[in-house]
């Protein structure tokens, strides 16, 4: 739980920089570019009920995700952890018949489910990495610059700089620097997933959502991605959904355990795995069910 000194120094500054949708977006290219100091609650979920058609997927979720920490969501399949993750950047909007019936998700105090929220702006600020690596059928370079080009950035020099920075940030630069123009689909599975991470951080989001990012990777590639998560926590707030409890234990600061659409326990990762308060949590983390 060591707080990076640079972040703690500006604990009171720029708290309200995240404002949707009317206020101008703070410059994303500023060093760090991130307003919330580490440890402060960046995402505040309260009393959230969520429905797929008529079936309720989330029941009264209350959760505060802290800035520049890694928060892990664990739980058996179908417990709602991915659903909650996808609520954070409103990816569930793409699925017909989904709705938030009650409660709020506030990021920097702004309720992202208000009708006047610019979803596109939200998604620029809350990036996402998917379970299955999904690079576009374009070159590596085009993959990384996609998000920036959408924002109208076409300056070759700037794009080059971002590509290098993002690929270095995703620990992929040395492996692909000589073939930036070859297709992203030509990379190995682990490289593809790191490419997707690089693509997500290229637009300098504040929060990165990771939906079981390692479930399709072999142990070596998994180790690399986990290492990467450790580096990324310096700059981003990370929320990771995982089936792999060792992974949650290894790379997260706080862990939330879900069961049947309810948040059972949310605490520091060390406590969840060594001293859970709830019997169900203990049963799950010790492998008795799930």
């Amino acid at each position: 739980m060591d707080i990076p000194p640079s972040a703690s120094a500006k604990s009171s500054a720029g708290k309200s920089a995240f404002s949707l949708p009317t206020v101008a977006v703070p410059s994303v290219s500023a060093p760090g570019g991130l307003a919330a100091p580490a440890g402060e609650a960046l995402v505040d979920i309260s009393h959230l009920d969520f429905f797929y058609q008529t079936s309720q997927a989330l029941h009264d979720i209350n959760l505060k995700i802290e800035a520049k920490k890694v928060t892990a969501f664990i739980g058996p399949s179908g417990c709602g952890k991915s659903t909650l993750l996808r609520c954070l950047n409103r990816m569930n909007d793409l699925i017909d018949g989904t709705r938030v019936a009650r409660g709020t998700i506030k990021i920097h105090g702004v309720d992202i489910y208000q009708p006047d929220v610019d979803v596109i702006e939200l998604r620029k600020r809350v990036g996402m990495v998917f379970q299955k690596s999904n690079p576009f059928p374009k070159s590596i370079y085009e993959n990384i610059t996609y998000g920036l080009r959408l924002q109208g950035l076409n300056d070759k020099a700037k794009l080059d700089a971002v590509v290098e920075k993002s690929l270095r940030g995703a620990a992929l630069w040395d492996e692909v620097k000589d073939r930036l123009d070859s297709s992203g689909l030509g990379l190995s599975g682990g490289q593809q997933q790191r490419l997707c991470i690089a693509r997500a951080i290229a637009v300098e989001p504040e929060v990165i959502l990771m939906d079981e990012p390692c479930s399709a990777l072999d142990p070596v590639a998994t180790a690399k991605v986990e290492e990467l998560i450790q580096e990324l926590r310096e700059r981003f707030t990370i929320v990771i959904v995982t089936h792999n409890m060792q992974q949650a234990a290894r790379c997260s600061d706080k862990t939330a355990f879900f069961y049947l659409g309810k948040l059972i326990e949310f605490a520091a990762t060390r406590d969840i795995f060594t001293n859970p308060a709830n019997a169900q949590t203990e049963a799950y983390v010790s492998g008795r069910f799930g």
Partner: protein, 534 residues
Amino acid sequence: MSESNSTAAPAAFAVQKRRLRLLGLTLDDTIKAFFGGNAVVAIVVLTLITIFLLREGLGFFTQNSQSLRVYRQAGLEYVDFIRAEVDDHTALTRYLSDLRLRQFTALTETKQLPLEEANAALATFDAFADRFGSTVDPLRSLLSDLTEQATAIKTKFIVTGDKKEERRQLLAEGKTAEAAAVQIEETDFAGELKPLLATLPAFKEGNREFGRALLATLDGAPVMPAPELAVRMGKLKQLTRAYVAGLPAVEHALETWDYTRPIPAWKAVSSFVFGRQWLTASFWQDWYGVIPLFIGSLMVSIVALVLAVPLGVGAAIYINQVATLREQRIIKPCIEFISAIPSVVLGFFGIAVLGQALRALSQVSWLSWMPGFPYSERLNILTAGCLLALIAVPTIFTLAEDALNNVPRAFKEASFALGASRLQTIVKIIVPASLSGIISAVLLGLGRVVGETMVVLLCAGNRIAIPDFTAGLSVVTQPVHTMTGIIAQEMGEVVRGSIHYRALFVVGLVLFALSLLINYVAQGIVRKYRISIG
């Protein structure tokens, strides 16, 4: 069970059993033979059709070669040199009448003169035009004489050919006596052509006189009132001088012409492939050039695709990416239902409604800025193209929608997660990822359109001529005939085995090859650019 096994002697591992046999085949073999047989039938039928098409079609080229030989030997080719010269003069006269029309319009519309006064004002122009036109009269009468002579030679040759055929048939039936009785007079081309060729000095004389007279008339050309018309008159003078300068070349061609020069074999093919005339049942010479029909098919298809591609692909994108489930349930069956309309009904609709409506639309005054508007031909490329578009839309829509559907959902999600709007996602991710499928959808739509017969037969206007491309975009308001249409129209009337009959088969072969090519390219595109999904 296990007890009995342990006590009794171990049973054979696989029990042998008598199988039901039909004609010595087991049931499995019979089923296999049944399905295999169906596949074989398909292959056999395809082979038979191909062989039949080729057998009937390829005979065309020998017959065409023969026809071209007669064209030369009977002197028709010789006469056509002079005819071409006269026709070129006619084209100049047409240019002149166009000029008169422009001047007349200028007088009546801009100067508001009544018709009689306008005509009176053009008296000098008309006198000039008359002089210009009549210069060719001596040549024209010579031409008609020569035409008669050449036709007579050709007829004689054809009669001889018929008699030979008669004798051959009689011999085949074993009637030797009757066969011997058939009088055959071999055509002596050299002798027959003599009077024809003897006119050359007269022609030369007349031709020079004609050139001089034409140039002399030019000096009396009236002065044009408007600069725009003066430019045109200058153009006419220039064209006429070039024409007169080309006259000696015709004489030279006639001097060096030799009826004994053999026709090279490739001429039989090239006169079909590059032939600009499809002229049948003519008293003079039949021409089987596929170009006007090919261009007709091409133009109609292009117009159809220009309309159908945006409609089909656009609808596919809407259904696949934007529409709600409810809209999908309504729109999709509607579009697919279009393909259930019989094409003859569409053609009927085209004649009765669409052609009429489009022509009425073209005559609306504030639409006159559109290219080709207003027009008077009700049945033309545009009418047929609109209806063919309707036929192509379901094909393009269904296949393009499939292609869009095959784009992994993950691409879409990744794009949205990076802050792309729906439009950006469609334009930058979905369409590029499915482009190969969309292109092949368009190509298959093209295949559908090129092969369509009934609609073009009813609605394309059926004028066998290369449309006038100098008209620019308004070329689409001209009538054409198509490859499919000509087969449907003429196949019923031709004599089996005649050159015309075989020419239609070659047109069919061209269509066949075109469809094969389109399908092959479409499949190739899909195979080559199929996206491998992460």
